[in-house]
C-alpha cells in the first residue's frame, strides 16, 4: 500500500488531471495545425504528448499506484508496452519492403 487516496475535500487530483489533458490536446492540435514544422518533428512531438496523456490517465484517474503486495500490475503494463512496441515497430520494419525490382 503506497498511497492513500483522499476521502474528503476537493478532488484536486482529478481536476488537475482534466485540465492537463485538455491542455495537452490543445497543444497537439496547435502543433499540427498552427506551427509549420517538418512532418516527422510534428509526429514525434504529438506522440510525446500522447505519452503524457497516458501517464495522466494512469496516475491521476486510474489509481495505478494503489496496490497490495508487489506492483505486478505495473509490470504487466510495462511488458504490454514492450510487446506493443515490438509489434508496431516490427511490423512496420518488416512490411516496409515493397518490390525489390523497379
Amino acid at each position: 500500500m503506497s498511497s492513500q487516496p483522499s476521502h474528503e475535500g476537493f478532488p484536486w487530483k482529478h481536476v488537475i488531471g482534466f485540465v492537463l489533458s485538455i491542455l495537452l490536446t490543445v497543444m497537439a492540435l496547435w502543433l499540427v495545425f498552427s506551427l509549420q514544422l517538418p512532418v516527422s518533428t510534428e509526429i514525434v512531438s504529438i506522440l510525446v504528448l500522447a505519452v503524457f496523456q497516458v501517464l495522466i490517465q494512469l496516475l491521476l484517474f486510474m489509481h495505478l499506484t494503489e496496490r497490495d503486495g508487489p506492483a505486478y500490475h505495473v509490470i504487466s503494463l510495462i511488458f504490454g508496452a514492450f510487446i506493443a512496441f515490438t509489434i508496431v515497430g516490427g511490423s512496420i520494419w518488416i512490411m516496409a519492403f515493397r518490390s525489390m525490382v523497379s
Partner: protein, 659 residues
Amino acid sequence: MLHSILQIGDKYFMWNEGPMIWTSDALIVLTSLGIVGLLTYLKRWKWLWDEWLTTVDHKKIGIMYIIAAFAMFFRGGMDGLIIRAQLAIPNNHFLTAEHYDQVFTTHGTIMILFMAMPFIIGLMNIAVPLQIGARDVAFPYLNAMSFWLFFFGALLFNISFVIGGSPDAGWTSYAPIAGPFYDPGVGENYYLISLQIAGIGTIATGINFLVTILKMRAPGMTLMRMPMFTWSVLITSVIIIFAFPVLTVTLALLMFDRLFGAHFFSVTHGGLPMMWANLFWIWGHPEVYIVILPAFGVFSEVVSTFSHKRLFGYKAMVVSLVAIAILSFTTWVHHFFTMGAGASVNSFFSFSTMLIAVPTGVKIFNWLFTMYKGRIEFTTSMLWALAFIPNFLIGGLTGVMLASAPADYQYHNSYFLVAHFHYVLIAGTVFGVFSGLYYWWPKMFGQKLNERIGKWAFWIFMISFNMTFMPMYFVGLMGMTRRMYTYPAGLGWGPFNLIETIGALGMGLGFVVMVFDIAYTIRHPEKDLTGDPWDGRTLEWSIPSPAPEYNFAVIPEVKGIDAYWMMKHPKEQEPGPVKAVDKSKIRPIHMPNNSYRPFIISVAFFVAGFGFIWQWYWLGIPGLIVVAIGLFLRSFEYNDEHFISTEEIERTEIAAGRL
C-alpha cells in the same frame, strides 16, 4: 420434394463426397446415440450435469480438458494416419487433392490448438493450485467458461468435416488462398470462428493462472520457492496473455475480409497477403513456446522426483524461462525468411532465433545434472521424460539450423521443416504431457496406471516416432515439399515415405496400448492409499489421492523449495511420513458454487458461431445476444459461494486416514 432433400443433404452434409463422409456421418450419429442411450440407461444424466457440466472445481475441469485432448489426439492422429496412408507410395490416389488439403489442415490445427493446448491446460488445472497450496484458481467460474469455450470451439471445428466441409488452407491459413476469392466455402469460416471462440477461453485461462500463481500461494511460498512446473505455467500464462490477443485480431481481420468485404489480405484494393503471415507468426511463434514450456515444467518435476534429488540450478531454470518468454516475441520472421524482406531483417531475426538455444540449453544441462549423483528410478513417467532429452535435442538443433536464413532458403516448406516441428512437438510437448499424465494420474484418480503396459506403450511409441520422422529430414533435403498430396516415382522419395508410414502405424499402436493401459487400470486399479506414491517433493503429494474438493484441510506453511520434501525430511528429527492433519486448525471452508451458466453461454457461443459461419445472421446475432444476457445476469449474481463445515472436513479427512 425428394429432390430438394437430396440437394440440402448435398450442400450441408456433402453426400456426394463418397464413403469417407458417409462413414463419418454414420459413426458420429451412432456414437452420439450410443452416448445418449448409455447415459439414459445408467440414469447418469443428473450426475453428468451436477458433477461435471456445471462444475467449477479446477480438478474436474482439468480432467475434462484431458479427456477432450485425448479425443482430439485420436482425431488428429487419425488424420495423421490418413496423411501417411496417402503418401505411403508414389502416385497414390487414395485421396484427391481437395481431401488431402483438408486432412493436413485439420491435422495441424487440431493437434496444436485442440490437442496440445488443452492437454497442457488440463495438467495446469490439476497441478498448479495443489502445488501452491491453494483451494482453487483465482476465478473458478471463469475457469469453467474457459473450458467450455474451448470445448465448443473444438466441437465447432470438428463438425466442419461432416457439415459443410473442412478448411483446406493449412493450419497457417495463409492469405490469399484462405481469403474469400480463392476459398469461398464455409470451411475457412469454421477455422476462423472456432479458433476465435477457443482463443477467447485461452486468454481467460492465461489471466486466471497468472493471478492465481501471483496472488494465491500458501504462506511462506515466495516466488523463488515455487515448484518449477508452477513457474513454467506462470511464464506460459504471460506468453498467452500477450500473444493471444494478436491471434484474436488476426482471425477477426480475415473474417472481415471473408464476411464483410474488407481488403486486409486480398491481392486487390491495396491489401497485403503477406500481412497475414506477419500477424499470424507474431502469435504463432510464441504459441509453440506456450505448448513447450509447461512440458519443460513437467520434466523438471519428474526428473527431480525420480532422481530423488533436488532440481539442479533452480535459479538458472527460472531465469532461462523468463529469457525464453521474452525472446519468443522477437523471432517471428524466421517463418518467412523467404519473403525477401531484406538482408538486415533476415540477419536480425536469424540472430534472435538462435539466441533461444542458449536458455534452452541451460535447461537441458540442468536436467542432466539433476540426475548427477542421484538415484534414477525408471518409472513410465520418467521414461517419457528421459526420452525427451535426446529426441527433443534433435528437433531443437535442427531448429537452429533452420534459423540460419540462407540455409532456410533450402529447407523452408520442405519435409526437413516437417521433421523439425514434429521432433519438438512430439518429443517435447507430447512426451511431456504423457509424462505428466503418468505422474499425476494417482492424484487425479487415486490409482496408479499400470507400469508394465505403460512401458510397452512408451517403447513402441518412441521407437516408431523416430522411424516416422527421422526419414523426413532426408526426403526434405531430397527436395520433397510439404502439403503435396502425391509425388512422382523416381526421385528416391518412395522408400523413405514407406518407412514413415510404417512408423506412423507403430505410433498409432503405441497410442492404442496406452489407451489400453488406462482401460486396464480402471478395471484392475492399483490403489494409491498414501497420497504420495512417488516419494514426491511438492505440496500436491501432501494431501490424499484423489484430492478432496477443498484440496487442503489446513493450508500448509512453506519453508523452502520442495516444501513437502522438507516436511518429510526435517533437519533435526528423523525423517518420516507427515500425514496427520492438525484438527484444531480446521475451519469452515469457503468454496464457489457450481454454475450452469458457463456451459449455457458457451452453447450460445457455439450457436452464434455456427450462424456466422453460414452467414445466417438470424441465428448468429440472437446467439450473441444470449451470450450478452448470460454475462449480464452473471454480473447480478451475488451469492455464488458456500461453506464446507468443519464436521464435513473432518469426516473427509478421517476417511482418508489423515485425522
